[in-house]
């Protein structure tokens, strides 16, 4: 029998290791799997590459991981915000590496990783310094840059409800990166508000089918 529900946050993140690439859902403070990130913090793992849209703010979740020097490198589109104090501090000190990726490219690189594709050409960023060192090709009269799949060891995401097969539905704009990150990691863990019985989620409205999800935990 399939049962992806786990009883604790500690079990949910078991197996995350030093050096892992970890996708973390969320956009600003919307949809961030705060409790899962704290569980990873508690694991004590280091040298993480964290892929997420923003670089954390304040003292919690991603910012806490950065503050505690667990993050070797961050891959994101917008690391700068009023509260991104810890990222900026370590970045200025040269203690954290930044790979800046246009937001649509970030999302699409994870998608092609999850889709088993080898990469894609996008016009976004092709005229900018972010294309330096990358293959540029003129397609249909427009410059495009080649972008590679971005595959991860772990994805931590936040959804609203889950069943034991791992089917997920989300809540409003907290959906953001969750569905694509779920496809791109070897281990996908979702924290949810509540579990529901198998069959309670309308099959027409499941957003992330359970095939992309390995563990679900209530938090």
């Amino acid at each position: 029998m399939i049962d992806k529900r786990v009883a604790s946050l500690a079990v949910a993140v078991a197996g995350v290791r030093d050096g892992d690439t970890v996708l973390v859902g969320g956009f600003g403070n919307s949809g961030v799997p705060v409790e899962l990130v704290h569980a990873v913090l508690d694991l004590g793992v280091r040298d993480l590459t964290v892929v997420t849209n923003n670089a954390g703010s304040g003292e919690t979740d991603i910012a806490a991981l950065i503050r505690e020097r667990r993050v070797r490198k961050i891959v994101c589109s917008y690391p700068r915000s009023s509260g991104s104090v810890w990222f900026e501090k370590l970045w200025r000190a040269g203690e954290i590496e930044l790979e800046l990726v246009p937001q649509g490219t970030l999302s699409e690189r994870m998608r092609v990783a999850g889709a088993g594709l080898g990469g894609f050409f996008t016009p976004a960023g092709a005229d900018s310094p972010l294309a330096e060192g990358k293959e540029v090709r003129v397609i249909d009269g427009r410059r495009h840059v080649f972008e590679e799949p971005l595959k991860a060891d772990v994805a931590l995401i936040k959804a609203d409800r889950a069943d034991r097969w791992g089917n997920l539905v989300y809540h409003s704009a907290a959906r953001n990166f969750g569905p694509v990150m779920a496809t791109a990691a070897a281990l996908t863990v979702a924290q949810v508000r509540a579990f529901v019985e198998l069959g309670e989620l309308d099959p027409e409205t499941v957003v992330t089918p359970g095939i992309f999800v390995d563990r679900v935990v209530v938090a």
Binding site: N167, L198, I211
Partner: protein, 224 residues
């Protein structure tokens, strides 16, 4: 399968037995895509104590058996265009997402039919050399490159007795080096770096008789 008429002692598997033999190797909890035709039978004979989630390329996870006559949803069909049902916990999604699952390594096991399989795992299951038929490929290439484990389910030889397991395929490839294991009406054969390795043979068929029906050298697992 008239090619076996000359070996009456060989207890070759019929379609249902072959499907059951494949089903035996599909673990509880697997995500499985069954190719059209013969492989579809696997779902009918899978052990009832295993929870297996069947995927269909047209946007279904959690496919259930055919509906009772006259009760089906006409839009709810499998890849072979036959009516099916949806189990509790199932989900619908669009075609592009269905192929994210197939090509992206999310399907644990696919069971495919074959015209030919080569000793290096090359698979030919979409086109023959018959130029009078328009070519058709469907989702076979995406599945063959993308599923974690590719099982082939086929008669050991063609209707006119020619081997389907070969040193190299003569028909156009579906994908190169992808087949993990082959289930035929005569044997279960792994594709290994050393070529075909026979795991099981039906009772009443000698090694030499199996080799005679096979177009590439066979090794036998019990020898190693």
């Amino acid at each position: 399968m008239s090619e076996l008429a000359s070996e009456p002692s060989a207890q070759r598997l019929d379609k249902r037995q072959l499907a059951a033999r494949v089903a035996q190797d599909i673990p509880d909890g697997s995500y499985v895509n069954l190719g059209i035709g013969l492989p579809t039978l696997v779902a009918d004979v899978a052990p009832p104590d295993r929870e297996i989630i069947y995927h269909s390329e047209n946007g279904i996870l959690g496919m259930g058996p055919a509906p009772e006559e006259g009760t089906g949803d006409p839009e709810l069909i499998n890849a072979g265009k036959q009516p099916v049902t949806l189990l509790p916990g199932g989900a619908y999604f669009h075609h592009t997402d269905a192929f994210v699952m197939m090509r992206g390594g999310h399907i644990d096991i696919t069971v495919l039919g074959a015209f030919q399989v080569a000793a290096n795992g090359d698979l030919a299951n979409w086109a023959t050399d018959d130029a009078t038929l328009p070519p058709a490929v469907g989702g076979a290439m995406d599945l063959a490159v993308g599923a974690r484990r590719v099982l082939v389910m086929t008669t050991h030889t063609t209707r006119d007795g020619r081997p389907k397991l070969l040193r190299s395929c003569t028909y156009p490839l579906t994908a190169a080096g992808v087949v993990d294991r082959i289930y035929t009406d005569l044997a279960v054969i792994d594709v290994t770096p050393d070529g075909f390795v026979v795991r099981e043979v039906v009772p009443g068929l000698s090694r030499d008789e199996l080799q005679a029906r096979t177009g590439a050298p066979l090794r036998f697992a019990t020898d190693t």
